[in-house]
Structures are given as C-alpha cells and as structure tokens.
Symmetry: C2
Subunit: 239 residues, 2 copies
C-alpha cells in the first residue's frame, strides 16, 4: 500500500491535517531546524523546545543552556540564538539545551499534540530524512513553520524537495495540492536556491541583520545524516 505525503504551509492550518498515525516533519529552514540539526551533528544531547521566553528562562535557571531568538535576533541574556554557527562548538557537547524561536519551536509544540512521531527536517539532513521515511510505512505531513503563521518560500522549498524524494521512491503518493505546488517550485529553484530566494521575505529580513552567511549555510544539502526526533517533549538523536 502507498503512503500519503502532504504539506502544511502554516501552523494556523495544521488542524486541517489528520496526523494521528502520521510522521510530522517540522521545518524552519531560516534557521531553527537547521540550527538544531547542526547542534546534534556537533554532539548536543537534547533540545527542549518551548514556546515562550519565560519558559526558557525557567529551564535556564535550572542549569540548562538556553537558546532564544525573536525576530531574527538572540534573546538578551541567552547563550545562543538561531545561528547554526553558534552550535559548531565543543561547549554544546553532551549538553541539554532549552530553545525558543519565533516560529520553529511553536510549530514543534503544535505538532506534538496529535502526531504519531515528530521529526526535524532541514536541507542539511534532507536525504537522510527521505531514506528514513521510506522505510516507515507511515503517512507523512511536512509541516512548514512559516513566518508568524504566513506561508514562506524557504520552508516550502524544503517541503517540495522532500516530497519529490518521497514520490520518486515509489512508496508515496500525493493528491495534496500544496505538496504538488511545492515540488514544482523546488524543481524551478533547485539549481540555485540562494539566487532563487533573493527576493523572499525572510532572506531580506536576515540580510538586514547581516546573516547572509547563515542563509548560505542553511541552504546546503545533505551535509549530515543526523535526524532529531521528539521523545517525551525532548528532541533527541534518532536511533
């Protein structure tokens, strides 16, 4: 039997998807899920995704490393923000990190209410994710964190890329218009994602913050095999 792949463009649309028996892949390319994948690649033990700065502070007071980002900037008083480069450090090896971001951690906390399994996706672990999903025999919903509940281009491009890999595996089918539209946009953009995204709203937002290096980093494909998975409200390394 074929499994379904669907794409959700916004946290505000997630309740339309029946995810009880599905694997939900949460994606926030710029930069939360790219940063998390990078952190696991560099030895982080776990992430605790929380929705508010207040919650993150409470964990910080208990001795956890604290990472926080709002509107693209590091939350004052926190060790880390959303930059993947900040997680390429020995300081995070074996550590548990509480994380709150504008879009990504909120999406994770919405997804966990209903989904069978929640995984974290980024271009960095795209092929590894596809390989894993092909062998699960479950439907997949790719959940774009978006920007403040709006559709955004970079998360949709990732959704298109993953949809294409799943469909070509022969184990998935899609009658989901958002999955088909995403794949089409990805096919047009794939040769040069960076250039394609020159006009996208979030890249402009980050350019303003001098984060072009982060943008380039997050658009690299298949640099790692790590897949973060949510277990008991913590993201840990799968397998």
């Amino acid at each position: 039997m074929m499994n379904k792949v669907e794409v959700c463009f916004s946290p505000q649309l997630f309740d339309l998807f029946d995810t009880e028996n599905s694997i939900v892949v949460v994606v926030d390319i710029f930069r939360a899920t790219s940063a998390m994948v990078t952190a696991f690649q560099h030895g982080a033990k776990s992430f605790i995704p929380v929705s508010t700065i207040k919650e993150a502070k409470e964990w910080k007071e208990k001795g956890f490393l604290a990472a926080g980002e709002r509107n693209g900037e590091v939350v004052k008083g926190f060790e880390f923000g959303n930059s993947p480069f900040s997680y390429q450090s020995d300081a995070i090896n074996g550590r548990e990190i509480v994380l709150t971001t504008t879009n990504g951690t909120r999406a994770i906390n919405i997804a966990k209410k209903n989904a069978d399994t929640v995984l974290i996706g980024a271009f960095l672990n795209l092929q590894a994710l596809a390989n894993h999903l092909k062998n699960q025999g479950k439907d997949v919903v790719i959940f774009c964190a978006g920007w403040k509940d709006r559709f955004n281009m970079e998360d949709s491009l990732f959704a298109g890329a993953l949809t294409m890999l799943l469909l070509t595996s022969g184990k998935f089918e899609s009658s989901c218009d958002s999955a088909n539209a995403s794949s089409l946009v990805y096919r047009t953009a794939r040769k040069d994602l960076l250039r394609f995204l020159a006009n996208c709203s979030h890249r402009k937002r980050l350019a303003h913050l001098n984060l072009e290096k982060d943008v380039e980093y997050c658009l690299q494909t298949d640099t790692t095999d790590v897949i973060p998975v949510l277990r008991n409200d913590k993201l840990v390394l799968l397998g």
Copy 2:
C-alpha cells in the same frame, strides 16, 4: 508610490492580512466565482452571498432565486448550484440570487468584515480586473477560497496570473512569498492550465461528478469585462 499585492491561500489565514485600506479579490475558480461572473455577464441583478443553507432557504422563501452547492453538488430544492452553464439563461435576467457554496461565499463573508472593497475574480474576467485594479491606487489582497480551508491549486494559479499582471503594470510590488510562489506556478502552468490541473485535488473531485465541461469553461481567460463588487452585503456589477 507603489502599491502592494499579496496572496492569501486560505480563509483560515485571512486574519493575518491587514486589509482595512485594501481591495480584496475573492477567487473560487471551481466554481463559485466563475459562476457569479457568468451570471452577471448574462444579466443577473445581484447575488446575496450567505454562508449557510438555512440562510439561503430564508431568502428563497422571500421570493429570491436560490443557488446552493455543497461538496460539488446542487443543494436539494434549490434552482441553481455552482455550474456556470446554469447561469447562461434568460431566467436570471434582472433577478436577485441568494447563493451559498462550500468555499466561495464563506470567503466573501470573511473578506467583507475588514476590507475596503471586495471584488470577485475568475479567469473569465482576469484582464478586466487587472485593468481596474491598476487605476485604484490601493493595495490588493488576492484571497483564495481554497477547499475547506486548504490550499488549492486552481485558486493559486489565478492568484499567480493576477499578481503577474499587476507587477508588470509597474504600479505594484510584492515581497509576499505566496504571491511570488503563485506567479511561479502560473508561469509553468499557463500554456495548458487544463492539463496542468489534471492531478489537482479539486479537478479530481469534479471529474467524479462528471463536471469536466465546467472545469474547461472555468479555465477560459478573458471572456468578459464584468466585475462583481460587494455593496451593502450584495454583489452587484461594478460601475
């Protein structure tokens, strides 16, 4: 000064858009807005868009023609459904029609709460709409009715087509990712919309109901100059 064009993919996302001083173009290609445009082209006096079958029945009892569609089928006991062909009739000349559909009329009633002006769009009146909008000096939000709050392909294609026309007029700009994604998908699809939509979810739904002729009709471009506009809770002919 340039005006903005934005695209909203779902009624469930409409609250994210600031439409107080904007013109909102509601689109439900298969088939509500295509049917309305056709009706005005054939002499209808007005449409009263209502969200529920119960409301439509109340108007019907007052002597209005009643049109109702749910899940692609005519509501039992109503004169008309959503098929544009049923409005190509002398019977509607000068008449007021109460209308309730699965997606389109709901979108109209959501839009009217905040928008400066609500217009009705379809491929049938695409160029006429673009010509009108170019001369208003107002921001535009293209509001896709979708299918039960989900993204759908045909409404997004229309959004892409109208976005392209507005951007090429030199009077509009867009930093809206959904507008840019829609335009891109439309550019790929425009040569043969019918074929492109072969796999879209709603066309499949209509094929099942033997409505292929309606689908072909609704994908014709620029067959009329009529533009319906909402005034005092009724859709009437603009100008």
